[in-house]
């Protein structure tokens, strides 16, 4: 308030060097108006969209704003790709998931970090008849679905040799062929 006529009328902006500030008339709150590139917030304490960090945290723990770190599993045309402070990835693509989009999402398996998008995460596609409780998720790494008794294959789509009747939905039954009359 420059109208008081004292030496303390004008105070320096509580903003990083180069930034200007203004007083919100109603609340008398001081807000920085021209934060350094890549930063925003009342005190320039936040990162722009698409970046994360805590540029103003005191005590040496300050982290400059960096681009979202999401294992190349975000789209640069999207908005809000990561949390501006923690960096948690919010818009994973290619069926990936996790804090850094570094694993496959539920119902998919493979290597989220593969370079080629088609090699990343594939659908589990568990066979409903051969899978415990008709689950749709599988081992995130191997893709193995949880098979019913005597059911085989990654996707639980076939009976083990010597077993039949996948259609039952309760696992496969032993063939019980008479060894004398069978060909093998």
């Amino acid at each position: 308030d420059a109208t008081q006529g004292t030496s303390g009328d004008c105070e320096p902006c509580p903003c990083p060097a180069g930034a200007t500030c203004a007083v919100v008339p109603k609340t008398r709150e001081v807000v920085c108006t021209n934060c350094p590139t890549g930063t925003t917030g009342k005190r320039c304490e936040l990162c722009d969209d698409g970046f994360f960090g805590e540029p103003l945290v005191q005590s040496g723990a300050a982290r400059a704003c960096r681009a979202c770190k999401c294992s190349d599993n975000i789209d640069p045309n999207a908005v809000g790709n990561c949390n501006r402070e923690t960096g948690e990835c919010l818009k994973c693509i290619y069926n990936t998931d996790g804090f850094f989009c570094d694993r496959c999402k539920k119902g998919f398996y493979g290597n989220a970090l593969a370079t080629n998008p088609t090699d990343k995460c594939k659908p589990c596609s568990c066979s409903p008849l051969g899978t415990v409780d008709r689950q749709t998720s599988c081992s995130q790494v191997t893709g193995q679905c949880q098979c019913l008794p005597n059911v085989a294959e990654r996707d639980c789509s076939a009976c083990q040799p010597g077993f039949f009747n996948l259609q039952s939905g309760n696992g496969c039954e032993r063939c019980n062929c008479n060894p004398i009359g069978s060909t093998n």
């Binding site: 590139t37 890549g38 936040l46 722009d48 969209d49 789209d75 908005v79």
Partner: protein
């Protein structure tokens, strides 16, 4: 008065979002009065994506993704009021039907399009299928049409429907990249878009289907609006508002705010509402 010069109502502005602010630049004729650009609203903790203007009550509406919500405020000053705050994850484009007194928005995580009254009541989902990355949305209230873009990299498209979501149709799907910006020019009845993938600005007549290129070589368009003979778009690479002469098919001016950071949604704040009757009033 010259017959080829249409006097413009005083006080038309462009409103655009940039890093926790909604700024405005006045238009003098079709020219941006760059020296008079300043902030309309300061929301330092927010990431504002979509901006829309209600010419009846002279309010600006915006979508925000840090505490996902839709808010509004009078452009003549006044406190922001939150109108939608629940069941919303990543709102992007927003459009006002100034005749029907409703707002429409896209949500790129919920993958749907919703409508509500301007106070947030009477909310309803109108489209919830076949959307991957819905972004821009615009209304054509006099004709009762809604248009939106989806930048799904596998199958980008521009769609239309009536304003209740019925009669949904794909208008454009070939030769599209990332159709981020969309606008409707009531004078020529053209639907126009700015594409950050093909780097083109194109238009088509929604009813006739004829499509034509306005210009190419755009860098990274995001938001788009139109006013008279001009299109205005925000560009993520240039951190600027660019004006394009619709008929000449070339860039006519650009404005780069002092602060160098991405610009998002852009809307035209008309001094007066465009002429037009409510489609419901005649039907």
């Amino acid at each position: 008065p010259r017959p080829d010069v249409h006097p413009l109502p005083p006080g038309t502005h462009l409103l655009y979002a940039q890093s926790g602010k909604i700024e405005h630049v006045p238009l003098e004729g079709y020219d941006m009065k760059k020296d008079d650009a300043k902030a309309v609203l300061h929301l330092p903790e927010k990431v504002i994506i979509g901006v829309a203007y209600d010419c009846v009550e002279k309010m600006v509406y915006w979508t925000e993704i840090t505490s996902p919500s839709i808010s509004k405020a009078s452009i003549q000053g006044g406190d922001p009021v939150e109108v939608i705050r629940s069941d919303i994850i990543s709102p992007e484009g927003i459009a006002i039907d100034h005749l029907g007194r409703t707002m429409y928005w896209t949500d790129s995580v919920k993958d749907r399009i919703e409508v509500a009254s301007l106070d947030g009541s009477l909310r309803r989902v109108i489209i919830d299928s076949d959307l991957i990355n819905p972004r821009a949305i615009i209304t054509d209230p006099p004709n009762g049409n809604l248009y939106w873009s989806d930048w799904n990299r596998e199958a980008p498209k521009i769609e239309t429907s009536y304003m209740d979501g019925s009669n949904r149709r794909v208008l454009v799907k070939d030769d599209l990249g990332l159709p981020n910006g969309l606008t409707y020019d009531p004078q020529s009845s053209m639907l126009c878009w700015a594409d950050a993938g093909t780097h083109k600005m194109e238009c088509m007549h929604p009813a006739h289907g004829d499509r034509r290129q306005v210009m190419e070589g755009l860098q990274y368009p995001f938001g788009m609006t139109s006013y008279g003979k001009n299109f205005y778009y925000t560009d993520w690479q240039r951190d600027a508002v660019v004006s394009v002469d619709h008929y000449a098919g070339r860039e006519s001016d650009n404005f780069q705010p002092q602060k160098r950071t991405k610009l998002y949604g852009i809307a035209t704040a008309y001094a007066q509402c465009p002429a037009g009757q409510n489609y419901c009033a005649v039907n």
